[in-house]
């Protein structure tokens, strides 16, 4: 059964351990700007919102890649960047309407969430269970899915 990251912003305290864990797991540095998950802060509302790729079915990034560097991991369902193939053209960063593919100037490649091969470091690091890794059909994902559907404008089936 495939699983997904489930994010419950209501439980997030803004500790940013997910960012540190992600950055260390994937880039071997403790640097939030290298994290593929980002906690957004809304001071006025006193809210924190962790945000990352939902591994959307549309896979805008994958379809936009000119060199086949983004492929689906059949085990996790994640759309993964293959660094040995990526040329760093950045087209996926503008094609993803969720803003979850970023360019890393240090490596000359793009980066996005790959679910850490089925053991996401952010979920393990989250002390309040604001980020969990659960059955993909979990209803908590509905909100993100709804937004994804609204943005999914490539085609309309008649």
């Amino acid at each position: 059964m495939q699983r997904s990251l489930n994010i419950d912003p209501g439980k997030c305290t803004g500790c940013r351990q997910c960012e540190m864990a992600c950055s260390y797991e994937n880039e071997k540095v403790f640097n939030p700007s290298k994290s593929r998950i980002r906690v957004f802060t809304f001071d006025a509302e006193a809210r924190f919102v962790p945000y990352t790729c939902t591994q959307c079915a549309e896979a805008w990034c994958m379809r936009a890649c000119p060199v086949d560097a983004i492929r689906i991991n059949l085990g996790t369902g994640a759309k993964e960047i293959h660094n040995d193939v990526c040329v760093g053209c950045k087209v996926c960063t503008i094609a993803c309407p969720f803003g979850t593919v970023n360019y890393n100037a240090d490596t000359g490649k793009v980066m996005k969430c790959d679910l850490c091969e089925g053991d996401p470091a952010c979920a393990k690091a989250c002390p309040t269970a604001a980020i969990t890794y659960v059955d993909a059909n979990w209803t908590g994902l509905d909100k993100m899915r709804m937004w994804a559907a609204k943005t999914d404008s490539a085609m309309t089936a008649n």
Binding site: F40, F42, K90, I94
Partner: protein, 433 residues
């Protein structure tokens, strides 16, 4: 059912793959115009810099990929189309019958009417073959003149500069990338390129290309027209409308492209700066579809039809055309103009109606010293376009907000005060609503 896909760029390859998924039994023939496996032009600059070998540009990497999918791949240049007999005529005299045809023949570079452009050491940068020619001539330190600083010119610029050549760019327009960047952004990119050692001449035209050997006959006046002395390896003299002479070892021409529609003459298929298609990617002829850079597809931001010569649009066109060819009934919701460019480490992008709309409102923040810029274009409280320089994080949210037509409400005022909060606005609307 025999599906023929003319053109083996991204639109054609995605279409052939989609046809295979949608119709397991159909016969699929993919026709490429060049003696190469299907590849991506977008990857050519990375071949030029040596980041990837020629194989790195190939759209699909697995050996025998097309065979495995039961997609027949052949080479051929279409010369004519008979839509009544459903027959394509190729330049080598052969013919091919189709039941349903996709035209994904892309575009080719324009050769401006300038004397001397037929000389050796003058190349477009469009095909892998062009790139191989450029690689042999663009040696470190050699004089290279690049004609055109549009989007393609700028991508080539980066690759040439990284090869360590002595580079001069000549652009007719008043700024770099005039069709993708507004004056503020285009000027910022120019300044950046100049600090990186590239000579940029805007509002300047190339008058002619001559043999550099003629130099001796020009005497002292010829010498006065130069800022830099020719090297022994230089074979071409580039004459500018300012009177200046530039000696060059290589001239690269990036003066725009035009759709490959010549073979459609007499076919009855309607064209107007590209093949006209409806929202099902159908052309004016029965069972003939078009996709990618050759097609004027639906643009949801303008509600009109236009050529959006970018990889994501080509891939969407190809997929939707193929689904309709296979008997599904899916309407294309449209693309929007967008692009991303890396000029020697300065990354810029623009989206949608980046030049604004009548009755709209623009907010911008510019930091010339840090080479950072963000301009947001609104219609009421909806984002309709944007331009960014020096921003590489979450930039796709601009597309998301434009595409979803998100009403920003109170965030519009917040963005007026600080445009850089655009991703906050996006997250607030997508995750907290």
């Amino acid at each position: 059912m025999h599906y023929v896909v003319l053109g083996a760029g991204p639109a054609g390859v995605v279409a052939a793959e989609t046809l295979r998924t949608a119709d397991r039994a159909g016969t699929i023939t993919l026709v490429g115009g060049e003696p190469e496996p299907p590849y991506s032009r977008m990857a050519i600059p990375y071949f030029l810099t040596g980041k990837i070998p020629a194989e790195g540009t190939h759209l699909r990497k697995a050996p025998g990929y097309y065979d495995t999918l039961g997609i027949g791949f052949r080479q051929g240049t279409a010369e004519g189309l008979d839509t009544d007999a459903k027959r394509i005529a190729f330049a080598d005299g052969s013919h091919l019958h189709y039941d349903r045809l996709l035209i994904a023949t892309g575009a080719r570079p324009v050769r401006p009417p300038i004397a001397g452009l037929e000389r050796k050491a003058v190349h477009h940068c469009w095909t892998l073959e062009d790139a191989r020619n450029i690689v042999t001539l663009a040696e470190p330190g050699s004089h290279v003149v690049l004609m055109g600083a549009g989007f393609i010119g700028c991508i080539v610029l980066e690759a040439l500069a990284m090869r360590g050549v002595n580079l001069t760019v000549v652009e007719m327009g008043d700024r770099m990338v005039p069709r993708m960047m507004n004056p503020t952004a285009g000027t910022m990119i120019r300044k950046w390129c100049e600090t990186k050692g590239v000579r940029v001449l805007t509002s300047t035209r190339i008058k002619s290309l001559q043999s550099v050997a003629a130099e001796k006959s020009r005497g002292i006046f010829g010498f006065l027209r130069r800022k830099e002395a020719p090297r022994d390896s230089d074979t071409i003299d580039v004459e500018l409308d300012t009177g200046e002479m530039l000696a060059a070892h290589l001239v690269v021409v990036c003066a725009g492209v035009k759709p490959n529609t010549d073979f459609l003459e007499g076919s009855g298929i309607r064209t107007d700066g590209g093949i006209l298609v409806d929202r099902y990617m159908r052309t004016s002829a029965n069972d003939v579809y078009a996709a990618g850079d050759v097609a004027r597809g639906y643009d949801f931001s303008t509600k009109g039809h236009d050529v959006h010569a970018i990889q994501p649009t080509a891939s969407e066109h190809g997929r939707i055309a193929a689904l309709n060819m296979a008997g599904h009934n899916v309407q294309y919701n449209g693309s929007l103009q967008m692009n991303v460019l890396d000029t020697l480490g300065l990354i810029s992008s623009s989206f949608g109606l980046w030049d604004g709309v009548e009755g709209g409102e623009a907010v911008e923040v510019v930091d010339h010293d840090a080479y950072r810029y963000l301009c947001l274009q609104f219609k009421d409280d909806v984002l309709v376009g944007g331009t960014a320089i020096g921003m590489t994080q979450h930039i796709g949210c601009l597309r998301g907000l434009i595409q979803a037509g998100t009403r920003l409400g109170p965030w519009k005022e917040r963005l007026r005060r600080d445009p850089m909060r655009i991703m906050d606005a996006y997250v607030a609307h997508s995750q907290m609503a």
